[in-house]
Symmetry: C2
Subunit: 465 residues, 2 copies
């Protein structure tokens, strides 16, 4: 096969055709030594060199071939987005096409967003407009905050925890076992002691366990990560109870630092009435949120906001480093602040609220239908994440792009998830369950999501929740 | 002024008109307490909320207004790109418009690029295609390397140095004083001892100083950052001499780790004949390069390549963390690997070589013209960065977007820099110098770039270089 024979590389790649061939699988299963599937790169995805003598004659054909692969890739992405249920990304992104001509510019917001640079190709005015919006949302005055648009939730966490460590160098990082894995990676990177706190069946941090662990190390400051929306169950840690626990254990204001990781539910919680808010009116040090999740920016991005006085303090202490740059990344994406600015302006507060209400409604609908079908499931009060029994069929999991953990799978009901998509999913699930659970029984999920949410033969009759 | 009165926010903003008003300054100078210019956000860049009652009637006007601002921003970027000389970014980016429809997709390459994910909206095949190309360029077999597409040079450095520290936990980080500032930031983040090595007038690491510092700490492993293109002078550290110095000081293979930061000159050096190469055939541990600099990807990105056996070793040691994700970022931009794949295929090795030759030729031309005009200047052998005396005129510096350090300024002759642009720059510079240096003399740069490159009244006649 010559390098320019056009073939659809997102097709079945020689597998047996299956139920889900409309998903235009781009990946044939290749299992490595560790039992994991590995990416296999065919010729089309390689960078192909052309002989100098053929260069001119090949140019048009080469361009045509590249365009064809990208077009096929887009068809594949379109199909995958239409069956995307298990990851916290919003795939309603077509409005960003209005910004597509920006791709002809190499835009770099290097360094501090508030500092003008002689480098003229940046979008820092858009960035500061976005930051101001988040500062207002989180109750901190314009001249009191500092922040920047990050490459995603992990960079926000990296910055927030670094702030805590620089302010309290001997501090221990406390984070719940259900917090994002980046926390444990960060503790390792930063050479910090890390206390893992147990969680409740809801996924929320167990503040009794936090108390016990704080008391064991009363002589060392506490850097606490509070998760606003855990990765798997969408649980929101109880910020007020965390603060109360610190006070009860005798920690004064200058002995603790709280970072809020709001990557998952940061856009949901502010719209819920009668729910405790995370805000800088409370003794928190930083908040990090993602822009590619609920907001649906086309590439990973996010926002980190902290108190300006902390940045000023650290800048004085480590003058050489901070005088250049107080961000983690250095060179920073100048497109993503424009995306965020655009979508926030386009939707406005009311548009976002409508998205949140729709997602909450659809999540409750899904949970209701699962329950009615006798399937173990759970939905936290402030969450759009529906947890249920893990399907024992990898092809099904891959088709619906479900995220799985132990006995559980989940659907994150993002704005692109329609009732029609949920109906297709439910009908497929209920039909397949008849074949999965002919002879064997569905798993018991009592330990994972609580007895009341478990619909296994043992617990189904015991609870009428 | 109502929120939707269209005004060009990239205009002079009430400043006195100047020579450079065609640069459509988006920033009025606002000086803060620290004497630094700060970004001032006018109404147009804020996120504006509309009253619910006006929502429907405003929708079209709102969209029109947003589009207008983005269009003005593009005009501003176009003008800035046409006078962009001092930062190492290539602004020949119009070919990326062919990929603009990808912006309607939220693409995330979360985690390891070689591991398939149930999350279907990723571009890992393109990513691995790109990684394979770099692996081949840097002399390491497909099954010997591991790597990923990063968010830029700093993330590559973060990963490379972390590898070194995890392999040699008690290691000292050695890096030259002219290496990128991220190195000093990283040492602080990772709580590593850092030895700053002196540099020569060329900007290259002084291996005599390295030897002295290695000998003082012979009992501790060495993690060495070798810079392939320093930020300011475009100097290339002498990798072979660094390795020889380590051997001379009695460091065996398992007592050192070398990371190569090739952000600046990584694409230039491989095309130079009779120049020592950085390659995995030599005892290096990792290489990091940028994709938004010479390659001109529209947003910060890069590539990190390391030895797979190191990643496997670390994965076993920190199983919990690594089993999820061996990257720094976690969620990763799925667009940038497609950009890199596209431009590498479009240009091919020959196209890149032509770009490099053109840049070297233009850099030599600029250096020749500066010298002829009696202006202190320097151009390293393997470099496209021309260093010269710092213009004492901030408006001039801002117009041409020059990067300055102490007495020096520089131009990085990237592929978008044409002879025509250089002529405009030279003519402006030479004309302005007559007004700058009427009564005072130009600065002496002998200490900064060497006596032979200095054209100040004292040194001009002494050297005929």
């Amino acid at each position: 096969m010559g390098p320019y024979v056009p073939v659809n590389k997102f097709s079945t790649n020689g597998r047996e055709p299956s139920d889900y061939d409309n998903q235009a699988m781009m990946i044939p299963d290749q299992i490595d030594d560790m039992g994991e599937k590995r990416i296999l790169v065919e010729q089309d995805f390689a960078v192909v060199e052309v002989e100098p003598k053929d260069e001119e004659s090949c140019a048009a054909e080469r361009l045509h071939h590249l365009t064809k692969i990208v077009t096929q890739f887009q068809d594949h992405l379109r199909e995958r987005a239409s069956n995307h249920l298990g990851y916290p990304g919003n795939h309603n992104c077509s409005h960003y096409l209005a910004l597509s001509t920006l791709l002809q510019f190499n835009i770099n917001n290097a360094g501090d967003p508030f500092k003008e640079s002689d480098h003229g190709l940046h979008s820092k005015k858009f960035e500061v407009g976005v930051l101001d919006w988040f500062a207002q949302l989180w109750g901190i005055d314009k001249d009191e905050y500092w922040g920047y648009v990050t490459n995603g939730g992990t960079e926000g966490n990296l910055h927030g925890i670094l702030m805590g460590r620089e302010l309290l160098p001997n501090g221990i990082l406390y984070t719940s076992q259900e917090s994002h894995y980046s926390m444990f990676k960060i503790a390792r990177m930063y050479r910090m002691d890390c206390g893992t706190i147990a969680s409740l069946a809801t996924g929320e941090m167990d503040c009794n366990d936090l108390r016990d662990k704080l008391l064991i190390n009363k002589d060392r400051p506490a850097i606490i990560n509070v998760t606003i929306g855990t990765t798997f169950k969408g649980a929101v840690d109880n910020l007020d109870l965390v603060v109360q626990t610190l006070i009860d254990c005798g920690f004064s204001d200058n002995q603790f630092y709280i970072h809020c990781d709001a990557a998952i539910s940061g856009f949901v919680v502010p719209f819920l009435k009668q729910v405790q808010k995370f805000t800088f009116k409370k003794p928190i040090g930083s908040v990090s949120i993602s822009g590619h999740k609920f907001l649906g920016c086309p590439m990973p991005c996010g926002v980190l906001i902290t108190r300006r006085r902390y940045i000023d303090l650290i800048s004085r202490n480590i003058e050489y480093i901070a005088s250049f740059d107080t961000t983690i990344a250095g060179s920073r994406n100048g497109h993503s602040p424009v995306f965020m600015w655009y979508v926030l302006n386009l939707k406005g507060w009311r548009g976002l609220e409508q998205d949140v209400q729709k997602c909450l409604r659809n999540a409750r609908y899904l949970r209701h239908r699962l329950k009615k079908a006798g399937i173990s499931s759970m939905l936290n009060e402030m969450s759009i994440t529906v947890v249920f029994e893990r399907p024992p069929d990898n092809e099904f999991v891959r088709h619906w792009q479900l995220q799985c953990l132990e006995n559980m799978a989940h659907v994150v009901v993002m704005p692109h998830v329609t009732v029609e998509m949920l109906e297709r999913f439910l009908s497929d699930l209920i039909r397949k369950r008849n074949t999965w659970y002919g002879k064997v029984q569905p798993p018991c999920l009592a330990e994972d999501i609580g007895i009341c949410n478990c619909a296994c033969p043992v617990h189904a009759c015991k609870c009428k929740n």
